[in-house]
Amino acid sequence: MSGGLLWILVAIGLAVVVIRRRSMAVALVTAQALVLVAFALYDAKDGEDVVAAGALAVRAVALATLFLLLVSRTREQRPVHARVPPPVRAGAAVAFALTLTWLVSTLGLDSRDAERAVLALVAFGIVTAATRRATLFQVLGIVLAENGLALAALELPGGASLTIELGVALDLMLIALVAGVFHERIFAEFGAGDSAALRTLRD
């Protein structure tokens, strides 16, 4: 994958970290996945690679549909206040990405640039899940990290791995479905998709 495309993926990831609106974040994460799909199709060498790209596309569209459905079913008066302001989130995400890049000497991918991009996406995803209170953003953080893993699968020597793509797709669909149910229940109970409300349930 070219350096420019990797930078675009990382930039989209960083935008998800700082963005305020849920629907925009869903659009960004989906766009990121579709960029990966496009590259997977462009780089496909045999039928298995095309099926892997298809799996990636199906999960991107299915997740986008699910998330947008959740957004429309749980309209909030105002966005849930993030516990950490956007500049601090961005700083933490970049710092974590750099730390991971320093700690992990190699992932065995085709290029070091791709490895850095993968680590950055995973770091951004984890930071999003850790610093956002809105339940949907926490799930989107996981999807962002999984996009990083999908990029790693595409950059493996020998090309995309159907096993990894199918595994990631199944994994994510399951997580998203469970999280979606939880999000709706939290919204129904507390009037907002705010995971901080769960603290009141602690013994």
């Binding site: 516990r83 700690l103 984890i126 850790a130 610093t131 209170r133 995971s195 901080a196 769960l198």
Partner: protein, 648 residues
């Protein structure tokens, strides 16, 4: 042919499990499962007899592999032999309600999980099967007991203990895989730290699953609350599969273990055998009593394994193979009579609604087929000739006698103590089952429900009678299995196949002769007795009206032993009386024999755990974000450790 039969059997169990989901095909599904189990049994015993390996051989790599050899054939044989009658029993024991159908499916899953452990030829499949066979019965109990809070607590204890202890299984298998020793392809140096770590981990992990003392706490809780066919599978097969794992690791893969480890295994076996039977004596619930006897019998099996390890370390290969064969033969025998007793208890519970020993009585007259089969099982577990329990206990006794003969003074003393423990266990088992037979099968019924008890439907009776006949057949001709079992020792040992047990230098055990003599004696006594009957006479009860409350009770029957062992058992009892106008109106007695291991070992650990939990709770903020931060911290620490070369 064997592979085809095994595959067909397992396939039939899977299809039968799926069919059990539909109400209309419920019975057909269970019958199909039973037929499949029968096929698995035949294939397993055939593999044992032919000693031929099928499919893949063992590998230390993490790639799924499946196969069968003589040892796994034996345990597959046991699995099918017990599962087939248990599933026939289920046909009328379970109802085609949603709960019954769920239990029907889960039973198939349980049998398949057990088969997975036995057919696994790589670490990953073995561990996956191992975990599945732990989890499936937990689900069965939860499904069958519904919202029963006590059952949920028991399942929690079961899962907690078996998973904590079971970590030893993971450690042992992964260490073996790391050393490339699964399947014995690499020889582990005798007396090395690695060998000791593997052996101790296996004893801890697999011993917990087998229910050896002091790791047994889950067993007397979990086994009795499962539906009877699943109890039969848990006590009859699941704990034997744990023994299979123990034999694989200690005998097949971990090299020749040092003598001290064999002595440790002997000590664990003696503790389990004696502890199990002693606590069984003071149980008042029939299924709990049977569960305690499972601990006793696992102790006897472990004694055989311990004797084999000591004798092998001393170079007495022939007797080491005999001791191993004794342990494996007792696995078969215990599976058969314990499944019979659990299914019998299930039939009684179905007819009477209770298994409290003091509220039964006279069931042999009211349920002659079920009661008669239960009587055979009780005699077999008590080790009475000519039944199967006697043959394998005799064989274990012979193996223990030979431990001092080949060893030094230290292991000689250990062997002698183990021998004394086994002898005491056998005697106490007879005492216990005299109590069970006397209070459950004989005498007058103590409640109207018992007086109205009737025989269960034919499938239930057929399952009991089949297992009772198996007890007789295995007691009559144990030598048919003994030869192939001796051949399972990884060092070469062979004996000829006969009906009885022929051991060099012991005088052997002529089981056929004993059976003929006993049958002849019985016939002679019957002829001498002729048509005479004992004249009935009124019972003298110090002038009181004779009523069921004056009958022997479980506590009364065992009082003499309780008094003798008072200094060890520390029994608790409370007597309260109510008087009005100086006249005694009521005396209430309650007694309990606390389980010392639970009180002295587990309670302090539990208290310590709760204290630690109070501190650990501070980490539990209830914030998802905080938990993610913990994970980030952990990942960074691990990556840092890799970067600095501390791990990896």
């Amino acid at each position: 042919m064997t592979g085809l039969l095994l595959g067909a059997g397992l396939g039939a169990i899977a299809i039968g499990g799926v069919l059990s989901v539909w109400g209309k095909a419920f019975s057909a599904g269970l019958w199909l499962q039973a037929t499949g189990a029968g096929g698995v049994s035949v294939a397993g015993f055939w593999a044992l007899g032919s000693q031929a390996a099928l499919g893949d051989t063992f590998t230390s790599s993490f790639v799924p592999r499946f196969g069968v050899d003589g040892l796994s054939g034996l345990f597959l044989g046991i699995l099918g032999l017990i599962a087939a009658p248990a599933l026939v029993f289920s046909v009328r024991y379970l109802r085609p309600s949603p709960t019954g159908r769920a239990v029907g499916v889960l039973t198939a899953l349980f049998v398949l999980a057990l088969a997975l452990v036995l057919c696994a030829r790589d670490p990953v499949t073995f561990l996956a099967g191992w975990e599945s066979m732990t989890l499936v019965p937990a689900v069965v109990i939860l499904v069958s007991r519904g919202a029963d809070r006590r059952a949920r607590k028991i399942v929690f204890t079961y899962l907690a203990v078996t998973h904590l202890g079971g970590a030893g299984t993971w450690v042992a298998i992964l260490l073996l895989a790391h050393a490339g020793a699964i399947g014995g392809h690499t020889t582990i140096a005798s007396g090395s730290g690695l060998q000791t770590a593997i052996a101790l981990s296996a004893l801890l992990g697999m011993g917990t699953k087998a229910g050896v003392m002091p790791l047994h706490v889950w067993l007397p809780r979990a086994h009795p609350i499962a539906p009877a066919p699943v109890s039969a599978l848990m006590s009859g097969v699941m704990i034997k599969v744990a023994i299979y794992g123990l034999v694989r690791v200690l005998i097949d893969w971990d090299g020749v273990l040092p003598v001290w480890f064999g002595v440790l295994v002997l000590a664990v076996g003696a503790l389990s055998a004696l502890g199990g039977v002693v606590y069984a004596l003071f149980e008042h619930d029939l299924k709990r009593l049977l569960a305690m006897h499972s601990i006793e019998n696992v102790g006897i099996i472990v004694l055989g394994i311990g004797a084999s390890l000591v004798l092998r370390a001393r170079g007495a290969d022939t007797w080491a193979a005999f001791a191993l064969a004794a342990a494996l033969l007792h696995c078969v025998n215990h599976a058969v009579f314990k499944a019979l007793l659990f299914l019998g208890a299930g039939a009684f519970e179905r007819a009477v609604g209770s298994l409290e020993i003091d509220r039964l009585g006279g069931l042999l007259r009211r349920m002659p087929w079920s009661g008669g089969a239960f009587l055979v099982g009780a005699m077999a577990i008590a080790g009475l000739p000519p039944l199967n329990g006697f043959a394998s206990e005799w064989l274990t006794l012979q193996a223990l006698i030979h431990v001092p003969r080949y060893g030094h003074i230290g292991d000689g003393v250990a062997g002698a103590l183990a021998l004394a423990a086994l002898a005491a266990t056998a005697a106490l088992a007879v005492f216990c089952f005299v109590k069970v037979v006397g209070l459950v099968l004989l005498g007058a019924p103590r409640t109207p429900a018992v007086a109205a008890a009737e025989e269960p439907p034919i499938p239930l009776r057929a399952a009991l009678i089949f297992l009772a006949l198996a007890c007789v057949a295995l007691g009559f001709a144990p030598g048919i299995l003994f030869g192939p079992l001796v051949g399972l020792a990884p060092w070469s040992s062979k004996v000829g196949t006969q009906l009885g047990l022929h051991l060099p230098g012991t005088g052997s055990l002529p089981t056929v002769g004993i059976a003929v003599a006993l049958v002849g004696l019985t016939v002679a006594l019957a002829l001498v007795r002729g048509n005479r009957r004992a004249a009935s006479a009124p019972t003298w009860a110090s002038g009181q009206i004779v009523e069921p409350a004056l009958n022997w009770t479980s506590a009364g029957f065992t009082k003499s032993l309780r008094l003798v062992l008072e200094f060890v058992l520390r029994p608790e009892r409370e007597i309260s009386s109510k008087a009005e106008g100086g006249v005694l109106q009521e005396v209430v007695y309650s007694g309990n024999v606390p389980h010392l291991i639970e009180d002295r070992l587990y309670r302090p650990v539990e208290r310590l755990g709760f204290r630690a939990a109070v501190h650990a709770r501070r980490l539990q903020s209830g914030s998802v974000g905080t938990y993610v931060v913990y994970l980030i911290g952990l990942v960074i620490v691990l990556l840092l450790a890799v970067r600095l070369g501390a791990i990896g």
